[in-house]
């Protein structure tokens, strides 16, 4: 298309050349005097007409030429011309006339009556630009008609278009013999730029209404007219812009090809079409009756380009939600500021209004205490850890402490004696059976249960173990017929509540036995009286257990010589055993008054609760086992010392008490609501409730076996062997301690395991400080390399991990599964 336009330009230039030949001739004809006269006349005419008159120099020159420099006539002519042609040319801007070089030049050469030539131009002189204009006007009308359905650029339809008449257009042409050149022009010219028609104010001069309107519109939508007209004519800009506007909106997608197409005058709705179609299209448009067909085409093409202004106003909902009105926000903010200035910010270092009132009410006490309480910040700054600790203590009063004076309560209550005893002895000495029989005889186990045990035991061929099953509850224990872990059971006599701690006799389970023995007040050493078994026991666990319980601190021991039925209640055998054992026990450190011997038979039940029915045992006149147990003196406990309790077991008690520990209180007392510290973890916990002997209590004292339900602690901080102690004076974790120990074996600096109750940790003997005299305690030899069994030595023990241990406690040192030493922590 562009090349076509270039071609048309070339044709135009040819035309111009024709006329310019004349002009050139004329100019040559003009003498300098004429020129001077022309110039002066022009000035005069301009003065007469006034500056606002729309006439060009050329017009004035022409008129002057015709009227032979008569200024008056020229002025009247020009005025009349202006009024005559107003109907036509008020559409045409001055620039438009400027750009029509042909007409004036021609009229100048013709007769003076050519003053009407302008008005006849369209018909008489179908020159290029007139044809062009006519075509465009027609086109304009058509388009505006098509866009009439709501297009905002509807103003273009106000242009009074010239009624195009083909008859007039071809008036001077012979029918069907239109000159070739004119044909070409008709075909081509409609595409020619309109050159500043339609109020394009690209050059100076007074704007027509339309021009003003267009200019305004262009200004408004200036940024969207992205025409990149690069052609030489500056009016091209305005033209393309208007063309773009005619196209309803700018198609952005056209941008890539805009460089080519912007130069090319493109018809709205026509798009790029073959040349031959252009005329048809034009003709259709000339008829200015858009058929439905064309309409569809146009609209479908238009549908690609979008209406530009689609930004909507918010609905009431949206305007509330987004607070779209910026003014409201802005006006609100100063108010807030003003409010902030009026309201005085509260100085928190001062006492609050409440404090002022209360201070006035009780002026003495309130103020200092209150001030302290109200100033957590200050407290933190002085002693942060302390403050935090205080806060944590005060903030969780979930369980209220009743603040019971436990000691006073304890004294008030008259209670039965309570005693724990541990049953020790060599494996298969009959400890569990003896205790089972004891419980059965005391009706602590009912007949029915016992029958069941008997049947079951007989079924697996171990009928003699039936009583042992009372205490040995575990399936493994029953299958193997040995006790593995400590079993506890309770029974009561008329005087005392007893707790049995049935210890395992097997040497592999000595640590469990230590754990049980540490809770005992006294011990029952069960000895197998049958031939050979006593002797083997004396070398084995009978000896070790006796030594251990003594080291742990048990002072009283009852030696139950069991299985007397197996030796036919032989008095000789009983006395033999008594002699040997008393000698051994005395050497082990038991006082002879604290050692008693009782013959009995666990399986038959002789001399346990009642005197033996067997006539062979008539020689024995001493007390029965139960009578002997009742003889036990209640041991005294340090009730007023800080709380110490080694945890024997950690378990989930019930839904209400998700975390419970059991054990025996070694020292001090405890009550519900109290805060305790668990060592070695150092975590704090609160006591939610207490159970003493399966009955809920508010308090408990040393010597009692308790179940404590804890809160405010994670179970991971609790394990068996940990120590529950009072929060005020907690037990300390140590890594190294000195101890005075009795050696059971050769002691050198070596790896050992330290046992204290349930607690057992690996460590080593770091140093042997000195060998001590057994009775006086004086140092016999400093820093011995090795210590003989049976001697007392002071050692330094280093531990792998810190454990809670304190001075007056008994520890047992074991190595390779054997007890090597036991002693007292210093």
């Amino acid at each position: 298309m562009s090349n076509r336009r270039v071609k048309s330009l070339a044709i135009d230039e040819d035309d111009y050349d024709d006329f310019e030949d004349y002009d050139d001739d004329d100019d040559e004809d003009l003498s300098p005097e004429d020129k001077e006269q022309l110039r002066q006349g022009t000035i005069k005419v301009r003065e007469a007409l006034g500056s606002a008159f729309p006439s060009t120099d050329k017009e004035i020159h022409e008129s002057l030429w015709h009227y032979y420099y008569d200024v008056g006539k020229t002025v009247t002519y020009l005025k009349s011309t202006a009024s005559n042609t107003e109907a036509f040319i008020h559409l045409l801007t001055q620039s438009g006339q400027h750009k029509s070089p042909g007409t004036p030049a021609k009229t100048k050469k013709e007769e003076p009556t050519s003053k009407l030539s302008t008005s006849y131009c369209p018909t008489a002189l179908p020159r290029t630009y007139q044809t062009d204009r006519g075509g465009h006007d027609g086109l304009q009308a058509t388009i505006s008609h098509k866009n009439a359905d709501g297009d905002q650029e509807f103003t273009s339809s106000t242009i009074p278009s010239i009624q195009f008449s083909a008859a007039e257009f071809f008036k001077d042409c012979p029918w069907l013999r239109i000159p070739e050149n004119r044909k070409a022009e008709i075909l081509i010219e409609p595409l020619y730029p309109r050159l500043g028609l339609l109020g394009g104010a690209s050059t100076g001069g007074k704007m027509s209404k339309l021009a003003a309107l267009a200019a305004k519109r262009r200004q408004k939508e200036g940024e969207r007219s992205e025409s990149t007209a690069t052609s030489s004519a500056e009016s091209q800009d305005g033209y393309t812009a208007r063309l773009n506007k005619l196209r309803i909106s700018v198609d952005n997608r056209a941008k890539p090809v805009a460089g080519r197409e912007a130069d090319t005058p493109r018809k709205t709705g026509v798009g790029v079409r073959p040349d031959s179609e252009v005329t048809e299209q034009l003709n259709e448009q000339h008829r200015s009756e858009p058929s439905s067909d064309v309409g569809t085409v146009v609209s479908s093409d238009l549908s690609i380009s979008v209406e530009p202004c689609i930004r909507g106003r918010p609905s009431p909902f949206a305007s509330i939600m987004t607070s779209h009105d910026a003014d409201i926000r802005l006006s609100a903010s100063p108010d807030l500021l003003a409010l902030g200035e009026i309201a005085k910010s509260f100085d928190f270092t001062e006492p609050s209004p409440d404090d002022v009132v209360r201070g006035a009410q009780n002026p003495k006490a309130a103020t200092p205490a209150k001030a302290k309480a109200k100033e957590p910040a200050k407290a933190k700054s002085t002693g942060l850890a302390q403050g935090v600790q205080q806060l944590s203590v005060q903030e969780t009063p979930k369980v209220k402490s009743k603040n019971i004076d436990v000691l006073a309560e304890y004294k008030k209550v008259k209670r039965k004696k309570a005693a724990n005893f541990v049953v020790i002895g060599h494996v298969d000495a009959g400890k569990s059976t003896l205790m089972g029989r004891l419980l059965f005889d005391l009706k602590a186990v009912d007949e029915r249960t016992m029958d069941k045990y008997r049947k079951e035991a007989e079924r697996i061929g171990k009928g003699s173990f039936a009583f042992a099953w009372v205490l040995d509850q575990g399936t493994e224990e029953r299958e193997r017929g040995v006790t593995i872990d400590i079993a506890t059971n309770k029974f009561e006599t008329d005087k005392t509540n007893f707790t049995i701690l049935d210890a395992p006799g097997h040497r592999d389970f000595v640590p469990n036995m230590i754990a049980g023995a540490s809770q005992a007040d006294f011990a029952v050493l069960v000895i197998d009286a049958s031939t050979g078994n006593f002797e083997s026991g004396l070398k084995g666990q009978t000896k070790e257990h006796a030594l251990l319980v003594r080291s742990i601190g048990v002072q009283r021991i009852i030696v139950a010589v069991n299985k007397m039925d197996a030796v036919d209640w032989s008095q000789g055998r009983f006395e033999e055993i008594s002699q040997q054992m008393s000698a051994f026990l005395t050497s082990a450190g038991f006082q002879s008054k604290n050692v008693t011997f009782v013959p009995c038979s666990g399986l038959e039940g002789g001399n346990i609760l009642e005197k033996p029915s067997n006539p062979k045992a008539s020689w024995y006149a001493g007390p029965t086992l139960v009578e002997e147990l009742d003889q036990s003196e209640p041991s005294t406990y340090a009730l007023d010392k800080p709380l110490r309790m080694t945890i024997n077991d950690v378990f989930r008690g019930s839904m209400q008490n998700p975390l419970s520990v059991s054990g025996r209180i070694e020292a001090g007392n405890v009550q519900v609501g109290e805060h305790v510290v668990v060592m070695p973890s150092g975590e704090r916990a609160q006591i939610r409730s207490l159970e003493v002997d399966d009955e809920p209590q508010d308090w408990a004292v040393a010597g009692q076996n308790v179940v404590i339900n804890l809160t405010d602690i994670d179970p991971i901080h609790l394990k068996t062997g940990d120590v529950l102690c009072s929060g005020v004076s907690p037990i300390l974790n140590v890594r190294e301690f000195k101890a005075k120990v009795l050696a059971f074996d050769h002691i050198t600096p070596m790896n050992i395991e330290v046992h204290k109750g349930r607690l057992h940790v690996p460590g080593r003997i770091g140093q042997l400080i000195g060998l001590l005299d057994k009775s006086t305690g004086t140092i016999l030899k400093k820093k011995p390399k090795i210590v003989q069994p049976g001697s007392v030595v002071r050692v330094v023990v280093q531990l792998d991990q810190p454990v809670p241990l304190e001075a007056p406690s008994r520890v047992i040192l074991r190595a390779n599964g054997e007890t090597v030493a036991a002693g007292l922590l210093e």
Partner: protein, 310 residues
């Protein structure tokens, strides 16, 4: 006296009430008054949710007259979108060198004529997936390794498809998704998430005309009795790329007119997207200038606020 432990129903049978439609509501189908190439007016605002990283609210222009009838069908759309992130991936998640984008669309219970619960249904999941696909095409994910971004669109009012106010589907769904994409893009831009371009979505359709079918932009389902084909595109205008396309219906057998093929349909959707993008762009520029103004004002206010007696 048979069963007194339970609340029994009535002994006889009952029939539920049936409401007759009133005259006004039966023929409430509005005809399209817009021109084929005219989009509905879009209102968009960013920064509406203060707690989100970025947020936007979009609504389509409501029809000027809405007769309060028994069955009130509307062709409007109200969407709110919030962007949370980019935030670090949870520790349990596996390593990802890219930004993990997840988008979800949720209907408010009152969004449609038929109330619905809070259970995520297939429509929401479907739109959410399309939205996610579209947005994944525009964000530059490798700017944020090991992070995630969540885009949540809440439909406050959805377009009702039919007069009887059934669930959303068809063109209503397209318009909804287009709105979701537009509002999400605005929110993403508001969150300052790096993107390739300003994504915009638009819907075009072919409707039967008086003579032959013609194309319309942004068709509202209640304005047209029949829609022959519709198409949604998510479009990056400055790159001339389509990141999401979803079309419905058939254009191949529409007749002899070669102008409207599938390409023509897509072209119309693209044009609609271009139109929407102008709004998004305008709004974002506006919000930017507003925040700049706000930022200039802020220091003074801040000085006053911070001045506390300590």
């Amino acid at each position: 006296m048979s069963d007194r432990r339970r609340l029994n129903g009535p002994a006889g049978t009952t029939s539920p009430p049936v409401f007759a439609l009133s005259k006004s509501s039966t023929k409430s189908s509005q005809k399209r008054t817009r021109k084929p190439n005219e989009l509905r007016k879009i209102f968009l605002q960013t920064g509406v949710v203060p707690s989100a990283t970025g947020s936007a609210y979009l609504e389509l222009e409501s029809p000027p007259e809405s007769k309060p009838g028994l069955l009130n069908t509307s062709s409007t759309l109200k969407l709110s979108c919030s962007v949370h992130g980019p935030k670090p991936l949870p520790r349990t998640a596996s390593f990802s060198p890219n930004l993990q984008l997840s988008a979800s669309v949720k209907f408010a219970p009152f969004a449609t004529c038929v109330r619905q619960g809070y259970i995520r249904d297939s429509t929401e999941r479907d739109i959410g997936m399309h939205l996610e696909t579209a947005l994944k095409g525009v964000v530059i994910p490798d700017r944020w390794p090991k992070s995630a971004i969540e885009i949540a669109v809440t439909v406050l009012e959805g377009e009702d498809d039919q007069v009887d106010g059934d669930r959303i589907g068809g063109v209503g769904l397209f318009n909804l998704l287009a709105g979701c994409i537009n509002v999400s893009m605005a929110a993403l831009a508001d969150a300052r998430v790096d993107c390739l371009d300003l994504l915009a979505a638009g819907v075009g359709a072919v409707v039967p005309g008086p003579g032959k079918p013609f194309r319309v932009l942004d068709p509202a389902s209640i304005e047209h009795d029949l829609i022959l084909a519709s198409c949604l595109v998510g479009y990056l205008p400055s790159r001339d790329e389509i990141v999401e396309i979803w079309s419905n219906g058939s254009v191949s057998n529409l007749g002899r007119d070669e102008d409207i093929g599938f390409d023509g349909l897509v072209d119309s959707a693209v044009a609609a997207a271009r139109g929407s993008q102008t709004v998004i762009k305008e709004v974002l520029i506006e919000s930017l200038t507003r925040t700049e103004v706000g930022a200039e004002k802020l220091p003074n206010d801040g000085m006053n606020d911070v001045d506390m007696n300590t």
